[in-house]
Symmetry: C2
Subunit: 239 residues, 2 copies
DNA sequence: TAGATTGTTAATCGATTAACAATC
DNA sequence: TAGATTGTTAATCGATTAACAATC
């Protein structure tokens, strides 16, 4: 609404969801030694239109220079700060099955201010085992993790059947941000945020569009062009 | 627009994205022996408001009975059909690192009409190895998979550096639906759909909201209630 | 100054919500 | 018929887009 940084409140959800992609694009440019970028170039690297990018960035403040563009390092820093990535976020992963294993070993977490401080499992058989250099602990250490390590984010990688129970334990310990990989709806208090990643759901959405394309190819839908696409770098369906 | 099923075209993206969740909720009800459900009950199980559910379902047709509700099995079938899940979808996973391993072993794919028909990797060292009962093959078999197995969906689980190359190979072979786990933007032709799952992005969005909550708790944002929440079962941020 | 590009405006589009007439 | 619940309407809200004035 205003260029005054103190007046920026309520960044739209849709904008927040795109900031990480902008940040990644900027990091890539910086690695290639590029120090300045226009909204057109950055938008192209992030797979969006330039108007959308400028609108998004306008919610953070006025960090560009008219006629010139954006300074890569400065904009990257501002986005990092807005996302809260200038601080360190301790993360716990619960559920050490195949997915939990993969998440524990995933280096992408560490790259952006996230630090896996604990791996937990309800299965006593896994306790003490070491995964990606971290010892698997029981759920009972949650209170301690919150109090002593400042744990604020929990990642649920358990089967659906135990996800709600694990979620309840996280909430009881004071964790208010949860990333849920279990294919189920979690019931939480209002002040707890849940984001869900569901592999099967993503495939089902793809299948819907794939089916449409197959039907269109067969001509079953007549001569109507099914999706009059606009030119865009990365055609992302849905969302 | 109309209850005539032949007139239903262009189901909104937001609706399509929720259909898998409705389907899952219905499956759960069916397993518990429940044969009939109201929009209020089903919405609650799926974590949305009943008005939204009814609006969503109205795009598929008129499958409820006023004063009574929906027949669980029938509605589940209609949603399955709409999503294209009454047919079998062959899927190939490319990139057999930690994540690829986990995806190959993930049983959630098989439950809903998806069948992993191939595991591929560019690394010759992995070829011939067996993962989750499937032999790892080279990228060169792609053409054959499309021609003989009807492969239509590819899952990219490679590092970001090779994702575009793998994507190009998939597109060249005729795959038009891609689920991308690599943290990068893929450039594809207009008729190819890409959905992206990015673990790090999800955490960054959580961090943004977590930071806001921490600031609010400190009182740094004054006495203003930060997010006047509406009562909803599952509080999901963003999207 | 002339050229370039931002930040903002205003129009458009799509999604959500509450309310209720239709109807079982 | 009375009670319940759907499917639809209309209002509201939020996101996208194109165009351009501001300004480096």
């Amino acid at each position: 609404m205003s260029a005054d940084p103190s007046a920026r409140r309520g960044i739209p959800d849709a904008t927040v969801a795109r900031l990480p992609e902008y940040l990644r694009a900027l990091t890539g440019l910086a690695e290639r030694g590029i120090t300045s970028v226009s909204s057109e170039e950055l938008a192209s690297a992030a797979g969006v239109r330039s108007a959308k990018l400028r609108k998004d960035l306008s919610h953070l403040g006025s960090y560009g220079v008219r006629g010139v563009g954006y300074e890569v390092d400065h904009l990257a820093y501002q986005i990092s700060r807005e996302l809260g990535l200038t601080q360190d976020w301790p993360v716990a992963i619960i559920g050490m099955g195949n997915l939990g294993h993969a998440l524990a070993a995933y280096s992408g977490f560490a790259t952006r201010g996230f630090r896996v401080v604990a791996l937990l499992d309800q299965d006593a058989g896994l306790l003490g085992q070491e995964i990606a250099g971290i010892t698997v602990q029981p759920m009972t250490v949650l209170d301690e993790l919150v109090a002593e390590q400042g744990l604020a984010i929990g990642v649920i990688a358990t089967p659906a059947a135990s996800a709600q129970e694990v979620c309840d334990a996280l909430v009881a310990a004071g964790v208010r941000s949860i990333l849920n990989f279990a294919p189920c709806v979690l019931v939480v208090p209002d002040d707890v945020d849940v984001r869900k990643v569901d592999l099967s759901t993503e495939l089902q959405i793809l299948a819907f569009h794939e089916q449409r394309k197959a039907l269109a190819a067969e001509g079953a839908l007549g001569a109507v062009a099914l999706e009059p696409v606009k030119p865009e770098l990365n055609r992302v369906v849905g969302r």
